[in-house]
Symmetry: C2
Subunit: 177 residues, 2 copies
């Protein structure tokens, strides 16, 4: 049974965090913050609240959000240390089964990107395949930092949107705490 | 060997997050954000950066920080689901070995507090014993919400200070990534 906005609005903050805590990777505080705006008019109103909260942060806060993301096809994916959500997204895009040559290329690109920007390359993997991700990374690494920060945050919002959609379309109503 | 500010300033953001990621409970994004201000003049300058970042957040963001904290002596402590830092702090204050009557009293007070404020009671457990925590909770639950939000955030900063002190005084220099 799909979850609707009435189900969401009836959650206390603990249930809300249990269900939506990782729609922005490793940033439960963002979801915890926007619970203050509950009740929401709709799921997309809830999503807008998250986007507005992110936009209201200073530059350092936006950089911080990106820094909470794992390297794509990085050691945390290989060692099983990424969140379940990220693992599913990276696997689907084919990043869990790179050839040794592709692994090396990804590692070099990620490293170059992080050295330049001070945060990792973030892309909505569910909307891309492996070839597109390599292509994007190769192009985006040449962007100026201010542009790349905005681009990364746009991708965070796409990831958030798809994670919320996956939760509301498949979940049964959560048990009240 | 203690860690000094040069060791800290030489960390990339990944090492920095590995080491300091939970000095604000379940809010690695705050620590990830203030890495943007690196190099720091001193450990206390780093700590001030965290406090300033927290103070710069809107009210909902401060409420979000509090909501990332577990209930004191709550089910997450009993089931071993709290962070290592919080577990150590709660154990030291005697909250892991409450009598059934004390457990029930704590549960009622926590529940009353959360229903009133929409966030959990947060106190720097390392600076208190069990009796003082019960006393504070009984008193603070009667505060007006705006005062209690500020009080909770003050406690978050005290917890953060002690966690940072524990890290820098006992750690050896971390391995560079």
């Amino acid at each position: 049974m799909a979850m609707d906005i009435r189900d969401i609005n009836s959650m206390n903050y603990e249930s809300f965090l249990d269900v939506f805590g990782n729609v922005v990777e490793k940033c439960p505080v963002i979801v915890a913050a926007i619970w203050s705006r509950c009740p929401f008019l709709s799921v997309s109103d809830m999503e807008s609240s998250i986007a507005e909260f992110i936009d209201s942060l200073p530059q350092s806060g936006k950089e911080g959000i990106l820094r909470c993301h794992p390297d794509l096809a990085g050691r945390d994916l290989l060692s099983g240390k990424v969140t379940a959500e990220s693992q599913g997204e990276q696997r689907q895009a084919g990043l869990a089964s790179l050839s040794p040559g592709e692994m090396e290329r990804m590692k070099q690109l990620n490293s170059h990107y992080k050295n330049k920007f001070g945060f990792p390359f973030v892309i909505c993997a569910r909307m891309s395949n492996k070839a597109q991700i390599f292509q994007e990374l190769s192009v985006r690494v040449n962007n100026p930092p201010s542009q790349e920060l905005l681009k990364g945050i746009e991708e965070v919002k796409k990831i958030c949107h798809l994670r919320i959609q996956a939760i509301v379309s498949t979940s049964t109503q959560p048990t009240k705490l």
